[in-house]
């Protein structure tokens, strides 16, 4: 069941009514309803995979309890067992075929007669997201920053909560678990904010992402016949497709959750307005970036280490982040490119040497911000080419075609029309930059009639694009 499907609309209305009207003030039953609904939501994809999820929940639930009640080496053993078993599921479903096909390739290269069959299993939806969420829980319990959750229902809900089950945000136990324990009262303001966020998320997904997808798909499938200019616009189209797609999904997730009185963490904060690559990563997929920061980067020493270790740390988190996205060399390349540019940024600014105060005082002019913003966007878009391409060779061919094909051609005019959509969208995002959690116009004192008119225009555009464009599945569902 996709967020942008009529089935989800019906599902959401039913769960909402049952939650606030039928089960009003019956907190335990409300939580049970959310868990049952989450199971139904998940089973809409491949029903039997719910057992895999159930097993990981069971393992980490008991591991959390054991870690909390044990001391010394035993604690560590329980943590390791939990991490290995959770990661093993991820490895088997997501990385086994990639690993085996690479081993097969290497063995044939060196002339060994060695070949293992790939399994070709369909990846359980959202596996990387709930795996990382489960890992964060056991690690936090191990670090004694989180009490183990004794209530199995609540713990299951923490892993399975349907608004964020299949594509995040990757929540922390400290933010989510206590909210499931709290008794819920309906808050008009929160629910209204949720509705606005859903509307804005749907707009980003259905209007922005799906329109950009048409341009990006055309550019990436016919790059050898298009002009250089069109290919640049094609890459920009993909940058906006993936942003509209994923941040749109996150907005719908956050908005949906608010309808049930639960606040999820913000996952995007206008990343394409970042003025440098480090800022981009503080604004893009925040829940994953902070996950890698807290559980990989900091344990490795973070920015406090000197010399090559700092660059090693940057390299490790970006390559891991690439692999997290998928078992393909294109994602590894994407991570590598970011690690190179991030390292370059670190080399110039050496943030660990200068105090944060100095950096904060660094005067930045509007011009340097704009220049920085354009350069950052260009770098990010360049890296997206690898993320989008079917394989690494295709990505290089695409980039080569930008420079080798005639720069302007008949097709350029057609691609330029994307600006009619993207420029107003960027302006909207810019005016919306101070809104709380990116909820459209929440920080402005707009007349109710104008707000209503904007809502209607957005709704009509969503209906228009929903029925006249090909639906692209949410890109991040595959991760």
């Amino acid at each position: 069941m996709l967020f942008n499907s009529p089935e989800f609309l019906v599902f959401l209305i039913i769960v909402f009514i049952a939650y606030w009207i039928i089960l009003k003030d019956r907190h335990r039953l409300q939580s049970t309803l959310l868990l049952v609904s989450s199971c139904i939501f998940y089973m809409f994809f491949i029903p039997k995979y719910i057992f895999i999820l159930f097993i990981t929940i069971l393992i980490d639930y008991f591991a959390g309890m054991k870690i909390a009640t044990s001391e010394g080496r035993k604690r560590k053993v329980y943590l390791i067992v939990s991490i290995i078993s959770t990661c093993m599921v991820l490895f088997v479903f997501k990385y086994y075929d990639f690993f085996v096909s690479n081993v097969n390739s290497i063995s044939s290269l060196v002339g060994w007669n060695y070949s293992v069959d790939v399994m070709k299993i369909i990846l359980p939806i959202g596996l990387s997201f709930h795996t990382f969420q489960s890992l964060s829980y056991v690690i936090e319990v191990y670090r004694r920053k989180q009490e183990p959750e004794k209530d199995f229902l609540i713990y299951s809900l923490y892993v399975m909560y349907f608004p964020q089950l299949v594509a995040g945000p990757i929540e922390r136990a400290s933010n989510l678990l206590h909210q499931f324990h709290e008794k819920k009262k309906f808050h008009f303001k929160l629910a209204a904010e949720g509705m606005h966020q859903i509307l804005w998320g749907m707009f980003k997904k259905v209007v922005i992402a799906d329109t950009c997808a048409a341009y990006a798909n055309h550019a990436f499938s016919s790059h050898d016949t298009l002009s250089g200019f069109s290919l640049i616009i094609g890459a920009v189209a993909f940058a906006f497709q993936i942003y509209g797609d994923f941040s749109g999904y996150s907005d719908i997730a956050l908005g949906t959750s608010k309808l049930f009185g639960v606040r999820l963490m913000r996952n995007f904060n206008l990343p394409y307005f970042a003025t440098n690559i480090a800022e981009f990563w503080r604004r893009w997929h925040i829940s994953l970036s902070t996950w890698f920061r807290d559980y990989v980067y900091f344990p490795l020493g973070g920015s406090r280490v000197d010399g090559w270790k700092l660059y090693r740390n940057v390299f490790v988190i970006f390559v891991l982040s690439g692999i997290w996205h998928g078992a393909n060399w294109t994602f590894v390349m994407w991570g590598l490119i970011h690690s190179v540019f991030y390292s370059f940024y670190v080399l110039i600014y050496k943030p660990h040497k200068k105090s944060k105060a100095i950096l904060a005082e660094k005067k930045s002019s509007r011009l340097s911000d704009i220049t920085g913003g354009v350069i950052t966007f260009a770098i990010v878009t360049f890296a997206w080419v690898f993320f989008r391409a079917a394989n690494v060779n295709e990505a290089f061919a695409y980039i080569a075609d930008i420079f080798t094909q005639p720069f302007l051609g008949q097709d350029a005019k057609s691609f330029l029309r994307l600006g009619i959509l993207i420029i107003p969208f960027l302006l909207l995002e810019w005016f919306n930059r101070y809104s709380s959690e990116g909820v459209i116009f929440s920080s402005y004192n707009i007349k109710p009639s104008v707000r209503l008119a904007i809502e209607l225009v957005l709704a009509v555009l969503i209906i228009d694009c929903f029925y006249t464009l090909d639906h692209e599945q949410f890109i991040y569902f595959q991760f």
Partner: protein
């Protein structure tokens, strides 16, 4: 909670008003038919242009149906074989449904006053067309879409909203599409387009995959034909097919088409297209019986149900999948249909 519900309902009310206004908006017919031009459904634009350039169809035999018709009846060959004044025109469209055939027929017969010599309505050999074609809301007028609700169109709301979308699209298309692919434009003097050939082994694989489903379908038709008390399983299946898959509505639309042709005294027959599964099981008669049992308003002494029963259609070498013929299969089928229509030409 009450305030929230009130505000939401008020917005739904306003949105309904806005989309209703957009729904009744009538744009030039040429706009709607220009949309499929560079898509897989470009045959629609071709048909519109063809009919715009046609003064009469008095001596033309017209074939209407889905891709099985579009890719199965070679009207170029028919016109070359028939030396009389009779002409043949294939108006089949990929993935079409009876709802689309009905609105196209209404336009042909009532708006354009083009009355073909004969219409051949094409049926799949294993099942009724279901759901609704994506472009139904493009070719149907708004009043026809509203009528479809009365006819039991279970997909009325999407059909309604799609019409709204096509109307809004007249403004938003300036940024929504990259230039379509010119290669998709259907260019031909005739309405036939051959399918790309597929290796027989591939077709056999498809056959194996789909065989069980088709057999179950045939079993349910057989069980239904027997009458008497129906098992709960069968009743649930038929309900699912009728309502969730919109087949009841498709039947109604087919009846409307037949009634329309009767009203204007236009001759018509029904062709059952070859299906690899039904041919191999020797169950081609099942759909013919189903049609006669289901559409009781049709006078079968005047209108024949043409059943294709030929050993060639038990051979995967003539198919690209279980329903669609390759150029060889299409030629065999065209020959059989020609002989059925012109019995004297056999010798």
């Amino acid at each position: 909670m009450k305030t929230f519900a009130k505000k939401i309902l008020f917005r739904i009310f306003l949105l309904t008003l806005v989309v209703s206004a957009l729904f009744v908006l009538k744009l030039p017919r040429s706009y709607y038919f220009s949309i499929p031009e560079k898509t897989d459904f470009s045959k629609m634009t071709w048909i519109e242009n063809k009919l715009n350039a046609t003064n009469n169809l008095d001596s033309t035999v017209v074939f209407m149906g889905s891709s099985i018709c579009f890719n199965g009846i070679n009207d170029s060959l028919l016109n070359s074989w028939d030396t009389s004044t009779t002409q043949y025109l294939n108006l089949g469209i990929t993935h079409t449904c009876y709802a689309i055939i009905d609105v196209l027929l209404e336009n042909l017969v009532e708006e354009r006053k083009l009355h073909p010599k004969k219409v051949l309505l094409c049926f799949k050999g294993d099942a009724m067309a279901n759901n609704i074609h994506n472009f139904y809301s493009l070719v149907a007028e708004s009043d026809q879409i509203l009528q479809s609700a009365a006819d039991g169109n279970m997909l009325f709301i999407p059909s309604f909203l799609k019409r709204v979308s096509w109307n809004v699209n007249s403004v938003t298309r300036s940024f929504k599409y990259v230039e379509g692919d010119d290669r998709l434009i259907f260019r031909s003097d005739y309405g036939f387009d051959p399918q790309r050939r597929r290796d027989s082994l591939e077709v056999e694989k498809i056959y194996k995959r789909l065989k069980t489903g088709s057999e179950a379908n045939f079993a349910s038709i057989e069980q239904e034909a027997k009458g008497g008390s129906r098992s709960l399983k069968l009743r649930l299946l038929l309900t699912k097919i009728d309502y969730l898959e919109n087949v009841k509505f498709q039947r109604t639309e087919f009846e409307r088409s037949a009634a329309l042709l009767d009203k204007y005294g236009i001759d018509y027959d029904i062709i059952l297209y070859p299906n690899l599964v039904s041919a191999r099981l020797g169950k081609e008669y099942l759909m013919a019986d189903y049609i006669k049992r289901t559409f009781t308003n049709i006078d079968y002494s005047k209108h024949e149900v043409i059943m294709i029963n030929d050993s060639a259609f038990r051979n995967a070498a003539n198919f690209v999948d279980v329903n669609h013929l390759n150029p060889d299969g299409a030629e065999i089928l065209t020959r059989i249909v020609y002989e059925k229509l012109n019995p004297k030409s056999v010798n």
